[in-house]
């Protein structure tokens, strides 16, 4: 099996879909000839032509509306939003239209659109190239929300989203494009080369929507994470040798409540991680549901380790990012709580 980084795995997924299904098209800002500012669609216009892989005007609402219109006419568009920070001009088309058309038409029209967008910080992108806006979208009925943490899942989940008849929002943690970044900016950039999840099968396969992955088995505390924070959690647990049960959520909506409750009922303790700001972040939903479903089993308050309730600052990026030390502190505090 070829060893791919996350960008290559995503290119591979789109290539696979374009080749097997004529109804698949992909477009977005700089997506055509150039192949995207992160190169995820590089080479695809040459391979499939300018009417299946093309540039789109700089209007994120237009991109999503175009995708939706095409989808209601039998296509399966994969639309790229260049940065998650720039998805908001398209927010209305997502919440009012894309995710409602099936419901309001009682199933007469469906819009199998997949929206790909890079998210997260750690690249000195400042407040407009670093956002993790996933929580907003988890409050929208009818939208699948996914965020992979490695190349294998990235390809399999993107194919699953594209083939799903539900609209899907697919977040790509850009700090993971080149390697399993564990939150330590001072270490040399790790690579997917020698990582098991960099092993990406050729051709078609899927990672099921709604199924989490337990990336580390443990008994003392459950850690729920997704995207970049999965690798931060692994490193922090390692460093503090905390016997953590670490869950890579992979799909946020619908999230895998069975895997979560099974784990929390085993450990009795839970720490939730995300890079996005804390207040009303997705960690709030998880904590609220867990305390309801696992009340008897909880031996400590559920902790949320997240970004701060501020925009993502440029110079203080590493004071904002919920890194290993903050995660480790929360793990210890939770494990030792009595």
């Amino acid at each position: 099996m070829p060893q791919l980084n996350m960008m290559q795995a995503l290119t591979d997924a789109i290539d696979t879909m374009l080749s097997q299904d004529d109804s698949v098209v992909t477009f977005g800002e700089d997506v055509g000839y150039f192949g995207g500012v992160f190169g995820v669609t590089r080479g695809l216009q040459e391979k499939y032509g300018a009417t299946r892989v093309f540039d789109a005007p700089i209007n994120e609402g237009a991109i999503i509306a175009m995708a939706m219109g095409m989808a209601t006419n039998g296509m399966r568009p994969i639309a790229e939003i260049q940065f998650a920070d720039y998805i908001f001009p398209g927010f209305d088309q997502i919440i009012s239209e894309l995710t409602r058309i099936r419901y309001r038409s009682a199933g007469q029209y469906t819009a199998p659109v997949t929206i790909r967008t890079p998210c997260g910080g750690g690249i000195y992108g400042g407040q407009t190239h670093s956002m993790s806006p996933e929580a907003f979208f988890t409050h929208i009925p009818g939208l699948v929300v996914a965020m992979p943490s490695n190349p294998y899942d990235a390809k399999g989940l993107l194919i699953a989203c594209t083939e799903s008849d539900d609209p899907a929002l697919f977040f790509e943690p850009k700090r993971l494009y080149n390697g399993p970044f564990d939150g330590d900016p001072n270490k040399p950039q790790p690579s997917w080369k020698d990582h098991p999840k960099g092993n990406v099968p050729e051709g078609h396969y899927t990672v099921p929507i709604g199924v989490a992955d337990v990336v580390r088995e443990g008994n003392d505390v459950t850690v729920i994470a997704y995207g970049t924070m999965v690798h931060v959690a692994l490193a922090a647990a390692e460093a503090e040798s905390v016997d953590a049960d670490i869950i890579d959520l992979r799909t946020l909506i619908p999230y895998d409540i069975e895997t979560i409750t099974r784990s929390v009922q085993k450990t009795g303790r839970c720490v939730i991680l995300h890079e996005a700001q804390k207040t009303s972040g997705f960690g709030a939903e998880l904590a609220a549901q867990i305390q309801e479903d696992c009340f008897y089993h909880l031996e400590a308050p559920i902790q949320r380790v997240t970004g701060w309730d501020t925009p993502y600052p440029h110079a203080h990026e590493w004071s904002y990012f919920p890194g290993q030390s903050r995660v480790a502190r929360a793990l210890k505090k939770t494990v030792e709580f009595a």
Binding site: T51, A65, M68, G69, M70, T72, N73, Q93, E97, S105
Partner: protein
Amino acid sequence: MAYIEQENALAANEAIMGDAQPRLSVPAPAFRPGDRPDFSKLGLPRPGEHPRPDVLVDTAQTHELAFGLVSVLNERGNAEGEWAPDISPEALRNGLKTMLLTRAYDDRMLKMQRTKRLSFYMKCLGEEAVAIAAAHALDDTDMLFPSYRQQGALIQRGGDIVDMMCHCISNSRDNLKGRQLPVHYTNKALNWFSVSGNLGTQFPQAVGWSMASALKGETAIACSWIGDGTTAEGDFHAAMTLASTYNAPVVLNVVNNQCAISMHNSISGGKAPSFAAKAIGYGIPGIRVDGNDYLAVYAATQWAAERARNGAGPTLIESYTYRGEAHSTSDDPSKYRPRDEYDAWPLGDPVERLRAHIINLGEWTAEDHDSWVAECKDTVSAAWKEAVSYGTLEEGPHAPIPTMFDDVFVDQPWQLRRQRQELGI
């Protein structure tokens, strides 16, 4: 916006030009309650005045059409000029009949709303031709992306009156399972998209739909309508930009009925010479048409559709008309415009104008007309009786409550399953 409204809009404020300093202008309409509406200064072009360019004409040659007004039917009900379309008497009668049936349907539904049988309703009085003549000029395989005021086009497509009523009263037969506000019809079988409550969102979607059609090598095109007020939304610009960039086979209509609820079109249109003129900046042909002239609307739509089908891309059509009724049953226009403004409207009634034309042709008589009007009344009464026999909003039966949780996702996720159980169903 255009013609005297604009001058008055400005007049309504302190003079602007040549002031010693910047001065804000908040446009106002020519007439408010208490004023005597007088449109004699409107100075519209005469019917037949505009030449009809070849459908493949270079866009740069079409600017005239955006500033003028394509009109075919003259005062005497005769068709004038190059835009006069070639429509069989049979088809003309059907157009007239559809407008009358739509009007009868609207009247009935309004009455029923007044007696609280509907939660809400919206009429299209005076705008029947805008939707019906356009649908008439299109193929049945062309997809319509309407706003809430094109019910006439649904009826033209063969929409069943009973079904439409069942939707409006959310009963057991409502094809939308009671999920939507009245008049937000969806009918895929008739290539009628789903009416959204959110203004303008369907405009760029129509462009995307038409692009897919072209990508698949099909000849079906898309047609969408928004109102004058809605042109201010970003989605108008999104649609025009997409259509221009990709040369999409789509007909984009702006129904300029002079107002948006209480707001005069000069609030959303500003100092624009016309809404059709907005097309110039996108390299798209823009045509302003007499929206109360069935033949003109038909001709413009046919021109645009033929252009799109021949690979020449999109057209923007502004239908210049007047909203004859309240915005909706939640509105009271006497609060913001003269009660008799509609009577003073110089472009007349689309029904009366087409009626006169067909009578002139000797293909219709006053008796035919009266008997059809009576027939429509009976049709809608009978339809209403049947519709309520399937239930009403107040008493039901509605779609079963559990269906409330369907169609959010293809498969119900655990959250919805639990919520459904919590509701005890």
